[in-house]
């Protein structure tokens, strides 16, 4: 490594021009950041919405290609395993067919019972499924770009989930893509309930892929392994969607310090379900459209 570079003398004036451009760009960044910060709502800016809309075709095409390549590689690997498994499964199938006749009658009765039970629960309304196009994790900010936008009826505030549990909520909506804040984002929070004890608290992301459950008093009997689900008290997320399981409980001065492992594997998200926004958000949107406060 040498500390004197002949190019340095030649490029002296260009460097000064570089300093000027750097100062201008940084100044511009500070200006637009200052312009956004005070009036920032959780719905994102119009500029963001435009850029998201403009990026939609590229994002969808490249993501589809990425998925095809991934699935192609996986298919090839699976093909080798599939041949040997096929023989084994054929043998097993013959045995299972015999059991099937016995179980069919029981299953019919059971599914009818489950249907009735499910209908009585507070199920969130589903808007549709969307592909995850991009997941970003930088400095505690964890977000995802999903392949559904205003054209699919998505609005800012729509919760997103997968079968395993809650994923986050949409914050910026483009025409065909949207940006969502993940639950593990350092500034994300959701009203939560300990399923076993019924106690209410607030789940917050730690920005590192984990969650903390706050505001649970020291008198609580919460223990490792307890299921945490959304409480439906925050005006954003529906009630009863799993969030995660308690991994450790520590004693604080007023409240317990509870760590929660998310139910969802955020690094491996490929598709999400977009749920209908809560009535509070719908009212807010309608109010904004009609000019009501």
């Amino acid at each position: 490594m040498r500390l004197t570079n002949p190019r340095a003398e030649v490029l002296g004036p260009r460097r000064h021009r570089g300093e000027l451009v750097l100062a201008s760009v940084l100044g511009f960044c500070i200006l637009i950041l200052s312009a956004q910060a005070p009036a920032r709502s959780r719905r994102g800016s119009v500029l963001q919405s435009w850029i998201l809309s403009a990026a939609a075709p590229l994002a969808s095409a490249v993501s589809a290609l990425s998925r095809t390549v991934s699935s192609g590689a996986e298919s090839l690997q699976s093909l080798w395993q599939a041949q040997s498994e096929n023989e084994r499964l054929k043998r097993e199938l013959a045995g299972k067919n015999r059991e099937l006749f016995e179980l069919r009658a029981q299953a019919s009765q059971r599914s009818e019972d489950e249907r009735l039970l499910a209908a009585s629960a507070a199920l969130p309304n589903l808007r549709g499924a969307a592909a995850v196009l991009l997941v970003e994790n930088r400095a505690g900010f964890q977000s995802a770009v999903i392949g559904a936008g205003s054209a699919q009826g998505v609005v800012a505030g729509c919760p997103i989930a997968v079968a395993e549990g809650l994923v986050g909520r949409v914050v910026t909506v483009g025409h065909a893509v949207s940006r969502a804040q993940l639950l593990v984002d350092a500034s994300a929070a959701a009203g939560a309930r300990i399923s076993r004890t019924g106690e209410l608290g607030v789940v917050r992301g730690d920005g590192r892929g984990g969650l903390h459950l706050n505001n649970i008093p020291t008198t609580s009997t919460v223990a490792a392994g307890d299921l945490i689900e959304s409480a439906g008290i925050d005006g954003i997320y529906p009630r009863g969607v799993p969030i995660g399981r308690v991994t450790s409980v520590g004693r604080g001065s007023l409240f317990l310090e509870i760590r929660v492992a998310p139910a969802v594997r955020f690094s491996q998200l490929t598709d999400v379900l977009v749920l209908a926004p809560s009535p509070a958000i719908v009212d807010g949107l309608e109010g904004a459209r009609s000019g009501r406060p």
């Binding site: 500390l3 451009v21 950041l33 998925r67 804040q181 998200l269």
Partner: protein, 167 residues
């Protein structure tokens, strides 16, 4: 670097960001392609282009991933200047030096975004998480490999190979 090449580089960086981001195996090798693009332009030693490219890719990254537009633009413009300065003032070469500089730049990018996020969004500062360190390693290693590929004498190698075949 010529403007046409810069435009191609920006398009490739955006496409690769989506290509990796859309894959279920995105956590395996999480390269910051926007930083790589900034580094490649800065490697040419042009301060103005490095700063402008850093600003543009930062804005795209912010629009895709952040609540506020400008945080990554700020960080990447500054890093573009810093990397161009390194490239000009300190004559360093070789894949290891370039890879290390890019890995460090990835961590500095996180630091700047975390500080801005804390100031403007009152978000907690999260630094040097496992993912951030892994991204720095992946970005640095990828940058090092690209630099090695750039320095490799492809023409001579191809000539030698051709001559060997002729014999």
């Amino acid at each position: 670097m010529k403007l046409g090449r810069i435009a191609l580089l920006l398009a490739a960086a955006t496409a690769l960001q989506f290509f990796v981001g859309g894959s279920p195996h995105r956590a395996v090798w999480p390269v910051d392609f926007f930083l790589l693009a900034t580094g490649m332009v800065a490697r040419g030693g042009d301060f103005v282009r490095a700063v402008l490219v850093g600003g543009v890719v930062g804005i795209v990254e912010d629009a895709l991933n952040h609540d506020l537009i400008g945080m990554n633009a700020f960080a990447k413009a500054a890093l573009g200047y810093g990397l161009a300065f390194l490239s000009i003032r300190v004559m360093f070469g070789g894949p290891w030096a370039v890879g290390s500089a890019l890995a460090a730049a990835s961590l500095v990018n996180d630091l700047i975004v975390a500080v801005l996020g804390s100031l403007l969004l009152q978000a907690p500062i999260v630094l040097f998480s496992r993912e951030a360190l892994w991204r720095a390693v992946a970005t640095g290693a990828s940058g090092g490999v690209l630099e090695a590929a750039r320095l490799f004498p492809w023409r001579e190698w191809w000539e030698r190979r051709r001559l060997r075949r002729l014999r």
